[in-house]
């Protein structure tokens, strides 16, 4: 699985670039690099469904980001060489939090079943029932639309909600009085 590690390093590097670079357009494109490496990692962990969705969603996300930046400005005005005390304070708090979180999660992950050895208590039943009772070749489709169809209704509703939300927020005038 050496490819997975390389891609993870690429994703982390691109993530740091996306956060730290001055030009917002470059930042959005670095975000695209992270998204596409995540998509390739999905292929490596045998999740082609996820990879397809991740690629198309990533394209759309980058388009929206670029659209917003082109409409407004692409220069990060908050990016300065000289720092204020407040910035150092925020970084200090973050460093403290990061170390704490990393140690806690490292200790916690030791108790998980190792990478590549899932328990699959329910999943093994799903794989048999999906084949024999639902007759779906793609087991992920069987899970999202039959066993857990109600979740997918929720998912579609989330998207509907955010579309209506975007249209609401982009109204020109809110109050008439």
């Amino acid at each position: 699985m050496i490819e997975l590690y390389i891609l993870l390093i690429v994703a982390i590097g691109a993530g740091i670039v996306a956060v730290e670079i001055k030009d917002l357009l470059a930042s959005a494109i670095s975000l695209g690099v992270v998204g596409f490496s995540v998509a390739i990692m999905f292929i490596l962990v045998q999740a082609p469904d996820l990879a397809i969705v991740q690629i198309v969603v990533e394209v759309l996300t980058v388009i929206i980001f670029v659209g917003v930046i082109l409409k407004t400005t692409h220069i990060d005005t908050t990016w300065t060489k000289e720092k204020e005390i407040r910035d150092y304070l925020a970084k200090g708090i973050f460093a403290f939090f990061a170390i704490f979180f990393l140690t806690f999660s490292l200790l916690a992950f030791k108790e998980l079943p190792g990478f590549g050895k899932p328990i699959m208590k329910i999943a093994s039943h799903y794989l048999i029932k999906g084949f024999e009772e639902i007759k779906a070749a793609n087991q992920v489709a069987a899970v999202i639309l039959d066993f857990r169809g109600y979740d997918t209704l929720g998912e579609a509703t989330v998207l509907f909600t955010s579309v209506i939300g975007v249209l609401t927020i982009l109204r020109k005038i809110g109050k008439t009085k």
Partner: protein, 112 residues
Amino acid sequence: MLPYIGCIILFLIGIYAILTKRNIIKIAIGFCLLEYAVNLFFALIGYKKGSLAPIYTQINQQRNFVDPIPQALVLTAIVIGLGTTALLLSVAIRLHEKYKTFDIKEIKRLKE
């Protein structure tokens, strides 16, 4: 174990952007990184060594598959992430229109 730690580092980069950056677009990018990290972590959980994607084919009737449930859940999570990003960016456009800046230090009209 190692891939999990990579995800946590990506997660922390996202948190770093949200906590320390003052630019709204950078904060939105931090959110995207957070989402990717959690999604990737969830997908990695379902991976089983030496197994195939959970799709039956006519040629290969082998039944050694990875766990399909995390994939279904991550699919939902990706869509939710797209929705929240779109909403955050639409607020960002409106804020830029009203204040002519992305700096959250200057967007401060509500006080204690």
